[in-house]
Amino acid sequence: MKSSGEKLKKFQEILKKRGIGAFVVMDLASAVYLSDYRFKAQGDAYLLITPSRAFCFTKELYAITLRRAAPFLECINSLNPSDIVAKVKELKIKSAAFDPGLIEYLPGNMFKAAGFKELSGLISAAREVKLPDETAKIRKACHISAKAYEIFRKKLKTGMTEIAAARMLEDIMYSLGATGIAFETIMAFGPDGANPHHESGERKLKAEDAVLMDYGCSYHGYCSDITRTFWHGKKPSAEFKRIFKIVKAAHDLGIKSARAAMTGGALDAVCRGYMGSLAKHFIHSTGHGLGVQIHEPPWIRANSLSNLGCGSIFTIEPGIYFEGKLGIRWENTVLLTKRGAEILTK
């Protein structure tokens, strides 16, 4: 697919406004985001972005494809950071910068020695607010995963293993048009749900059992994320019913309360606060942004002081876990608009 280069243009505008002569990108996710080309592994490509040009340091193998897929990139056949420094010198750029949280230690030292400035958060701020094309892809990925839940419920049978059920769920998403899986599907039966990062295993579904599934697909490089917890059978335990109600209500309150310009920390506090003393069993953050990566800013967690942007996309996923017994989580991916949070996983 040929890229429009829209995201790069948006980032170059930011550089122009901030008076930054060049910005170095070495992490995979940011390189994929800015180039709109899906490099496979960390170290496949590095970018040097100026307000008017974009250089891609990569292997010849990629350069051939990029000339077609992303013609706005000027490819340089090298992956040596010293060639990035050399390019900055050649262009006589004074104010080059890099993000100390996204560049590795060794090349970072090299850039620092060459006089580059440390500048945090520039890329993540750009990535946080999605462009219309990005939103459309995430919307599609979200729709596929929500639809898959309905089909899956009809096909799930007592006796299936977690691995088999996870595979079935992924198959359904592919059949609905997913182009990939966003992360390893978490399929947890019974007490396995109590581990938020459970690895699907050989446990078999009982006739009366709790099911927690946390999954998502990707659609042309963009992710979705959704969690559903439900009772398989007819007689949910009293505890399941009681905890489910609280988690679902905390989730609904989070959706209703989300506003642009609210901090991630405040939204986290809304969901956590609702749980009262049960909040000590809510052992993870309320949510995370997603896009080209399944976890990216904004962060909906206690220490997050940055404001949620209009047009940002993130999850709201409160959960309560009783170790070795039961876990319940309810999650949707939402788009933040002027009017509040719109659920995309529907």
Binding site: L61, P196, I283
Partner: protein, 351 residues
Amino acid sequence: MQKIDNSKIAALKNILKKNELDGCIITDVNDLKYFIGSVFLHNGEAVMLASSNGFFLTARSLYEAPVSAAFPQIKTEGCDGDRPAKIVETARKMGLGNIAFDGGKEIYSAGKIYEKAGFKDIPGIIGSLRIAKTEDELEIMRSSAGILYGAFKYIRQFLKPGVSESQIARLLEDYMLKKGASGPSFPTIVAFGEGTSSPHYKTGEVKLKKNMPVMLDFGCYYEGYCSDITRTFWYGDKPAPKEFAEILKTVCEAHALVAARAKYGMSGAEIDAIARGHIEAAGFGKYFTHRTGHGIGLEPHESGDISQLNKEKIGLNYCFSVEPGIYLSGKFGARWEDCFYMTKNGIKIIE
């Protein structure tokens, strides 16, 4: 309670002693996996200080309870803020002074914190531990490889005219999962026809016809450890074109020569030369466009390459692939691959 492999701890203590260190910082998600298995998903979620006084871990709060329950011998603290700063503080409290980190595995901001705390940058310190496998690791790697040999036998029945590359890839992956793999260790390559001439072919929708070359390159994760094999063959009722038969024969011979002649004490470059020399002698040297092999273990590609660039000795229990290939652009290609480990008496296949 889960145990940490004693031979891994012994190896760690050895390295600390050799470098006169009190401890070292472990950040990389695969380096952490080496000691405590698959717990963390991403780099940066946790930092461990492995010291002569024991293990100290700082991780996202979410992990505190499960890690403490599984590994009570590791002192685990939840921290959702600056984990590198937190572990520096722990080191200070414990009175540990000489600490190393691997600058090649740190983010700039974290590396700076360690540097300021007076920690020493020792490149490859944990990587050097992981390269020689323990007996337990080898056993898991044998099981991981075993799944692939089974898969290759299993898949032949499905190779019929009309089946697509992606269907075969899916069947291979389903089989691996059924045999206990947790997933493919890299995107499964199934190439029919001209696709075989690309070393990194992306499996597509090409349908199998009679009298076509077929290349299958696949691997899986089994209990965290990777495996990797490639098979190339001619599918059809007519004999293969002479040129295809010749390149296939040449890569198989190169592979067999490495298996027979690679000896303990040789460098990666010397082993690479065995395969490369044979392919060059057959006149296909310039079509062998990659290294002979790569290290393998917790990651599908690890250090310890069998390449012209690796002048280091391949030590005992190093695990690596041997995968000579010849690619005739626009026509077809052939590659033959198995994974091996080094013993005192030469290399042995992992199966």
